[in-house]
């Protein structure tokens, strides 16, 4: 056995870390406890920390530490089960344990015994157990309104306690049903968990066998949240996930009356109801009338704006796209009309109206695009509220300074940014900014500072979230990554500081447990990174221990949505950037001539070379024309270099978000990127510049280039 030969150094370091984590948990609990409510996960983490310490101490024969942690474990268990109240006095004793742990550990390290010193502390711990909490709301044995008996029957005592706490806090209870592939369950559950955690508390997971498949597993997740069901549903927005509301957050405690809906003529003050015996945490109740009163300004602005579902805008955008196609068809009709005799006046009128229509159409399009642009200030305001609330919860005074709130981005991007930014700001407050005392000791202002900046830099928008907190300890991050197996020892040795910091964006690194170990930064940062990359953005981190941390998000402005012409060719769909499309025309096969083996048509007196997209791309089944009388030609390129791209069908115009193809496919000539067209359909975006170059190069050289198609090789 290696036990005895292990250097006790290892024990000292590890025990020290556990004690620090425990102490950190206590600090969090202390801050939370003052606001009347605390995060059960933190208490649970404290319990687990002490449990690990007990195991470690026993292993290395540190008797007094084992004895103390054994006693403490019992107390923490009672606390997390609500059998003991988390009073300031209880916290005092717990904090005292941290001190004593540290003394005992030091003594053990020096080979001294200090067993006599823990007696009185053990007594104080034991004395705590005599103090019961206020009678728990609803004695056990109560049924819980709206809750299936079968659910209650499988909860552990702790889970049931948390369930009752959620009811006491008047949260709604939801049963979120999800189905996972067995092998992917870790990943799936982590994603869902992170989302649920934003809404409230995950009470438990109830697995059940999916009768339809051995490879799948059904999970019912019991969640307590203040949010209405619509928000939860919108928040999870994933396939295979459904949300049921189990009950209104009705209380089972007769002492706290059920929440009554406010009458329409809401009085300014809350109704003089008897105060519940357990104070309700006002900060949690975001929707109380009291809160909305001081938001009078936002009430007025509400009356001047209309909230429009983004989907409706998309619908309008698509309609405009279709109008664009109608416009193109009218143009073709005009051409036919002009060829008729005696049509001069009519054709002239027609042309005038068509031009007017074209102008209005592009104004309409631009207008609609403008409607989608919203200032980032919308999100920043939301963040300001979060900072106020969380700062209060964490008992930290924080000044938020905002600049660049007027920077505009597409609504879609702003919406998607809101969650990641919220998460980052939350991290700043929870883990970045120290408490006033610690700050003053470090020679900083007692008031913490968070800077939110947005600005345009070239064709990119940069958003920065910076705090002046304790910064991130890159050595700590490296050690933890090493211990978690995120990197190997060799990798860790060779990593630069910047690379090490990048680790916080790796999944698997940012677990809850790590959160407390490394000054807590980077919780869920992998999710943040995923969300940012979804917008084709990048995120960087810069930190200076003791001075603060800065996260920078860079978003390409061009991600903003481009207009594209959607076409079909050989049963595949492609998009062409509209700014590269001169016009779309319809020709008959008879109009196509051949010059030196190249197909051309005559367009307004000029010769236009034709290129068949299906042949260029060697699309399967590329053959003749769908209808020789209706051949669609998209004229692309610049003034001097124009090419007619022959396609099978014009589908319409649409605004699309360009997504990069990644390193592996970036070099494919003729493809600029990809985009999504409804229903998760991924479609390629053509690189018009390259296609024109290719076509022109080919025409000029009159030589076979690469694809051995007959019509190319039979040049001179």
């Amino acid at each position: 056995m290696t036990d005895s030969s292990r250097p006790s150094n290892e024990f000292l370091t590890e025990a020290q870390e556990v004690i620090e984590a425990f102490s950190h948990n206590l600090l969090e609990l202390d801050a939370q406890q003052r606001t009347g409510d605390y995060d059960p996960d933190v208490l649970n983490a404290a319990f687990r920390a002490v449990h690990s310490l007990k195991g470690l101490a026993a292993l290395f024969g540190a008797g007094p530490i084992a004895a103390l942690s054994h006693a403490l474990e019992g107390t923490l268990d009672a606390l997390r089960l609500g059998k003991l109240a988390l009073t300031p006095r209880a916290l005092d004793v717990l904090f005292e344990c941290v001190e004593v742990f540290q003394r005992l550990l030091a003594a053990f390290g020096e080979g001294r015994e200090e067993s006599d010193s823990i007696g009185p502390l053990l007594d104080r711990i034991a004395a705590l157990s005599g103090v019961g909490p206020e009678p728990a709301a609803g004695a056990s044995g109560d049924t819980i309104a709206g809750l299936d008996e079968s659910i209650l029957g499988v909860l552990t005592e702790y889970e049931e306690h948390r369930l009752r706490e959620n009811i006491r806090l008047q949260r709604n209870l939801y049963r979120v049903h999800a189905s996972f592939d067995l092998l992917a369950i870790d990943v799936g559950i982590e994603t869902l968990k992170a989302k649920m955690k934003e809404f409230g508390e995950v009470i438990t997971y109830l697995p059940s066998a999916d009768s339809s498949s051995e490879d799948r597993i059904d999970l019912d997740i019991l969640v307590g949240s203040h949010r209405p069901i619509a928000e939860i549903v919108a928040g999870v927005a994933e396939d295979d996930v459904t949300v049921h509301e189990l009950s209104r957050g009705r209380t089972i405690a007769p002492s706290s009356p059920p929440r009554t809906p406010a009458p329409t003529t809401a009085p300014v003050h809350l109704e003089p109801e008897p105060t519940p015996s357990v104070p309700v945490d006002v900060a949690e109740e975001e929707e109380t009338p009291r809160e909305s009163i001081d938001g009078a300004i936002s009430l007025r602005s509400l009356s001047q704006t209309v909230r429009v579902d983004l989907e409706r805008l998309d619908h309008l955008m698509n309609l405009i796209g279709e109008l664009g196609v109608v416009h193109a068809n009218l143009g073709s009709t005009l051409d036919i009309l002009k060829r008729r005799a005696h049509s001069g006046d009519v054709a002239r009128d027609f042309l005038l109206h068509l031009r007017a229509m074209s102008r209005k159409l592009s104004l309409l399009q631009q207008g609609l695009l403008d409607v989608r642009m919203v200032p980032l200030g919308q999100v920043f305001d939301k963040l300001a509220r979060v900072v106020r609330k969380l700062g209060r919860d964490a008992d930290k005074e924080i000044r938020l300074s905002i600049s660049g709130a007027q920077t505009e981005l597409d609504k879609l991007i702003v919406e998607e940014l809101s969650d990641p930014l919220m998460h980052m700001v939350r991290n700043c407050i929870d883990h970045g900014i120290e408490h006033a005392a610690e700050r003053e000791a470090a020679g900083k202002l007692a008031v913490g500072r968070i800077d939110l900046r947005a600005f345009q830099k070239g064709n990119r928008v940069v958003i920065e979230v910076e705090d002046d907190g304790r910064g991130m300890d890159w050595r700590g991050i490296r050690d933890i990554a090493l211990r978690r197996g995120v990197v190997s020892a060799t990798e860790a040795r060779e990593m630069s500081v910047a690379e090490t910091l990048e680790l916080v964006f790796r999944p698997g690194f940012t677990t809850r447990e790590t959160a407390t170990e490394i000054s807590g930064r980077g919780v869920g940062m992998d999710v943040v990174k995923t969300n940012i990359s979804r917008l084709s953005g990048m995120i960087d981190v810069d930190t200076e221990p003791g001075r603060g941390t800065k996260f920078s998000i860079t978003l390409p402005v061009t991600l903003a949505i481009i207009q594209a012409l959607v076409i079909e060719c050989a049963k595949q769909t492609f998009c062409i950037p509209l700014n590269a499309v001169l016009e779309s025309i319809m020709v008959r096969e008879a109009e196509i001539a051949t010059v030196e083996g190249h197909e051309v048509i005559s367009l307004r007196g000029r010769t236009l070379p034709l290129v068949h997209l299906s042949r260029l791309f060697e699309l399967p089944g590329a053959g003749g024309y769908v209808d020789p009388e209706r051949i669609y030609v998209v004229v692309i390129g610049l003034a001097q270099h124009r090419v007619g791209l022959v396609v099978d069908d014009l589908v319409g115009q649409q605004d699309v978000v360009i997504k990069p193809l990644g390193k592996a496919l970036r070099a494919v000539p003729g493809i600029a990127g990809a985009t999504e067209l409804g229903a998760n359909r991924t479609v390629l975006l053509l690189d018009v510049g390259k296609l024109v170059d290719e076509a022109m190069g080919r025409a000029e050289l009159s030589a076979p280039v690469k694809i051995g198609r007959p019509e190319v090789t039979d040049g001179p």
């Binding site: 992917a184 990644g662 496919l665 000539p669 991924t682």
Partner: protein
């Protein structure tokens, strides 16, 4: 059935009383932690068993629809959409130049792997298990395996009498291989 408890007792006696203490239970709490074990997802492609570290795998998905991309190598199935990102999806069978008939059946899965900070989808015939392999059980750099497929192999391990081939993503996902051979020249000229 009746025989068994007796055997258990005898075995316990053999193992000594020291096993049966609360102390040991606490010791055990610590002992289980071995830091250098790595978990691998084992999957089958053709007749052989392959593996990738679980750290390289972001997700295991059912085979999903992809959009073919012209001018790419035959093993590139196309691009697909995974949680909002567009990722290339390849057929590992074709990529490894395996021979023989095969169809993407109902056990087929797409492994979403992370390589060089980007995601890729690898279609495999079936995902078998998640296995734990200690570094000493990995046979590094199998120089003995020559031939065209050697470059895709990072190391070998034995799993239940079968050889598990740990793939080298650096070569499997070498970007220059993605573009169809004839097109590559042109792409370079353009660059």
């Amino acid at each position: 059935m009746a025989r068994e408890p007796g055997d258990l007792w005898r075995a316990l006696d053999r193992s000594g009383e020291s096993l049966a203490t609360e102390e040991d239970y606490e010791h055990g709490y610590k002992r289980e932690v071995r830091q250098d074990l790595e978990r691998y997802v084992a999957f089958r492609v053709g007749v052989e068993l392959y593996g990738l570290s679980i750290r390289q795998i972001a997700e295991i998905a059912k085979v999903f629809d992809v959009t073919p991309v012209p001018r790419t190598a035959d093993f590139v199935l196309g691009i697909g959409n995974v949680r909002g990102s567009v990722i290339p999806v390849i057929d590992l069978f074709k990529r490894l130049r395996l021979s023989g008939e095969r169809m993407i059946g109902r056990f087929a899965r797409t492994l979403i792997v992370r390589h060089d900070d980007e995601l890729y989808g690898l279609v495999v015939d079936a995902v078998i298990d998640v296995v734990t392999i200690a570094p000493e059980d990995l046979e590094e750099a199998p120089g003995a395996i020559a031939g065209p497929r050697g470059e895709y192999i990072r190391s070998l391990a034995r799993i239940g009498g079968e050889i598990l081939i740990v793939l080298e993503l650096k070569t499997v996902l070498a970007t220059e291989a993605f573009i169809a051979p004839g097109v590559r020249v042109l792409a370079k000229e353009d660059a």
